[in-house]
């Protein structure tokens, strides 16, 4: 047996192999490979549930997330309605499936608002920021990386230098400075943003800042891939027939890198969610009365000593953990499925 066959059959042994079927597209193969990853599949299902829960949050609960009930602050978590509950008039609707108005499965917070409702609504913001920041940042990074990788020479040198400088600046303080600057109404730009965006200004600012600080890794990744690919035959051929550089990049090179980009985008989502919640925790992110997981945690810090105060901290954090965990599992599964370099490493 030759070396290659020995290695391949060894690999097959090791992996309990998934052989490609004849005529199967890359995507079908990837999907089958992903399905075998039980953890990733389960995580995917949970993630979908969370996303659906976030999207339909306003209709899923009997409560309005902002409605206060100052006679029932720091209520204990319970599935039953308390005997002396006077909450009927504070609810948006009397009942949703098994959930009666007056029952608080996760308890109530420091102003008497239902925690589960707020967690669901918080998920809307956190997930929105996470997915859009990751998606756009990956797109931007891929573009820059591809152009730098293919154009080479001066363009590449400039882009690489830019990436290096951006990576050398302490990321976290830069994040803080940028957010503090853009959210500040005293700064001209900040005032402009308030005028243009109104209430949603904070969300946009956070998304923009996260994008600004995380496109670099995708850019380098894609750049590396493009550099490896650009000497290949099919690119030579395209050049020979006179295709323009842009066309080659977009129609020939990038499609081959999509798998890497997808994985990157997924993993970036988890990061973005953690960054947003960290920022909100420090007080620079989503501002009350809008609710996000991070700013729920920020508030909860001061109430650890109050009876039932810990629940205001426990549940938002748990949900952040759950979401990011699922995203990471899915991302890992995708990486196994899509990226041939990682076969056998799982």
């Amino acid at each position: 047996m030759t070396d290659t066959t020995r290695t391949r059959s060894k690999q097959a042994e090791v992996e309990n192999d998934l052989q490609t079927r004849p005529g199967e597209s890359q995507w079908r193969y990837a999907w089958r490979s992903f399905r075998r990853h039980r953890l990733a599949m389960a995580a995917g299902v949970v993630l979908v549930i969370l996303i659906l829960g976030a999207i339909f949050a306003p209709w899923l609960t009997p409560y309005d997330f902002a409605r206060q009930n100052r006679s029932n602050m720091f209520g204990s978590p319970s599935l039953r309605v308390a005997a002396n509950a006077q909450t009927i008039d504070k609810c948006a609707r009397p009942q949703v499936l098994w959930w009666r108005c007056g029952a608080h499965p996760f308890g109530t917070d420091d102003l008497g608002r239902d925690i589960l409702t707020r967690v669901l609504h918080g998920g809307r913001v956190s997930l929105l920021v996470g997915f859009s920041a990751a998606f756009i940042s990956t797109l931007l990074g891929s573009l820059i990386g591809a152009i730098a990788g293919y154009w080479g020479r001066a363009v590449d040198a400039f882009a690489s230098r830019l990436i290096e400088i951006m990576l050398s600046i302490p990321q976290l303080p830069l994040l803080l400075i940028l957010v503090a600057l853009l959210a500040n109404p005293g700064v001209r730009f900040g005032a402009m943003l308030t005028g243009a965006l109104g209430d949603s200004k904070n969300i946009v600012i956070i998304i923009v800042v996260i994008i600004l600080l995380s496109w670099m890794s995708t850019a380098r990744l894609v750049r590396g891939q493009i550099i490896a690919l650009r000497e290949r035959d099919f690119v030579e051929a395209a050049r020979a027939i006179g295709a323009s550089r842009m066309r080659i990049v977009f129609r020939h090179l990038l499609p081959n890198v999509t798998s890497v980009i997808i994985v990157q985008a997924t993993l970036m989502t988890g990061e973005a969610i953690l960054i947003e919640s960290g920022l909100s925790f420090l007080g620079l992110g989503i501002q009350p009365p809008a609710v996000s997981w991070g700013n729920m945690l920020s508030r909860a810090q001061g109430f650890l000593y109050y009876p039932n105060g810990v629940y205001t901290a426990l549940f938002p954090g748990l949900f952040i953990l759950l979401t990011v965990l699922c995203v990471n599992f899915v991302g890992d599964g995708l990486r196994d499925a899509l990226d041939p370099r990682y076969h056998g490493r799982a």
Partner: protein, 366 residues
């Protein structure tokens, strides 16, 4: 911010792709360097000189950018004074503004700052009235070093055995458990973990461990002081290490897996060496190298990035100092800390590049 898998061997820009801010950086796990091939025609020494020289303009650009951003933020410590002193008049305000040079445009302020820095004078902290460099390096930096250093040590001591174990028992129950735990560690928000730890150990078990702070004053005697410090360090180090342990375990694991399958290991096995020798003498030593690279790149981030842990545990470290300085526009403290960290990042990138090149004969910067 992200952790990409894009380290291209042979073409040395900088391996800083693997760097991450300790509290924040997630995005899964850093992975083994891929195989690429790039050749340029420059020798090692020339490369080194070029890199060191490049440090200066890079630092310059960074300082300009940071100073400009900071200066754009309105608000200064004088306004704090105004709030605290109802007797404060507009005349006082104007006078103090002129005194501190805040009425000049930012580029003039930057020029003056630069002029002083070149002479080694980093200015006075407007918050604390003492020299900014003094304040940061004598009172904040050591605390962060302590916290981050211990967490680095702890993470390393846990990650290496866990990663090796995980690799050796691949696909087994142990591997599975360690994998899941690692994933959890990477996904958990550090500030939440800190809050929960405080709740369990300081609130529930009243006073078992302190809920933060550096030390209890008035404790005398070597052993009590040591014990007191350790008590205060326990929870923050735990919280800070969680992310790193998780990341490094997985990294060690994949690094180990890759090394085991390499030819020289197969050779060693076929020579009849005991399994134990093969693993520990040959495979481990090679597998640990990339982890050390990763650690090296993580070190600078530890200094600025531990801010969440420092906030939750009231740890007077450098991360928190930067944050506070930014919020109240204490330029001098913010600038000296930020420049120091930038310098560290650049230096460590360079060092790890060199170390990697020296150690791995397959890389040529030629």
């Amino acid at each position: 911010m992200g952790l990409g898998a894009e380290r291209c061997r042979g073409r040395a820009i900088s391996p800083s792709s693997l760097a991450a801010d300790s509290d924040w950086g997630v995005g899964g796990f850093p992975s083994r360097p891929g195989l690429g091939s790039e050749k340029a025609g420059v020798g090692m020494a020339t490369y080194l000189v070029r890199r060191v020289l490049q440090l200066i303009p890079t630092l310059f650009v960074i300082s300009l950018l940071l100073f400009g951003l900071l200066a754009m933020k309105p608000g200064d410590p004088i306004d704090e004074m105004r709030r605290g002193n109802p007797g404060f008049t507009q005349a006082d305000y104007d006078r103090l503004r002129e005194f501190y040079g805040l009425d000049r445009p930012w580029y003039v302020q930057y020029w003056r700052w630069l002029g002083r820095v070149v002479h080694g004078d980093f200015g006075t902290s407007r918050q604390f009235g003492r020299p900014a460099a003094d304040y940061v390096f004598k009172y904040r930096f050591p605390n962060t070093v302590l916290l981050s250093g211990l967490s680095l040590l702890l993470s390393f001591s846990v990650a290496v055995p866990a990663g090796v174990l995980s690799a050796l028992r691949q696909r087994g129950f142990v591997d599975y458990t360690i994998t899941v735990v690692s994933f959890v560690g990477v996904s958990i928000p550090i500030f939440w973990m800190g809050i929960m730890l405080i709740y369990i150990f300081a609130v529930q078990f009243r006073g078992f461990l302190p809920a933060g702070g550096l030390a209890t004053p008035g404790v005398t005697g070597t052993w009590p002081i040591l014990g007191d410090r350790l008590r205060h360090l326990l929870l923050p180090v735990l919280a800070l290490s969680s992310l790193q342990v998780a990341q490094w375990t997985r990294f060690m694991r994949s690094s180990m897996l890759e090394t085991i399958q390499l030819d020289f290991v197969v050779t060693a096995r076929s020579k009849g060496l005991s399994e134990r020798r093969v693993i520990f003498k040959h495979a481990l030593r090679n597998a640990i190298l990339p982890l050390i690279t990763l650690m090296g790149l993580n070190v600078p981030a530890l200094f600025s990035g531990a801010i969440l842990t420092e906030t939750v545990f009231n740890w007077p470290g450098m991360g928190r100092a930067i944050y506070d300085a930014i919020l109240v526009n204490d330029f001098n403290v913010a600038m000296v800390s930020l420049m120091f960290i930038s310098l560290l990042v650049l230096l460590f990138n360079l060092l790890t590049d060199i170390a990697y090149a020296l150690v791995d004969p397959r890389i040529r910067y030629g």
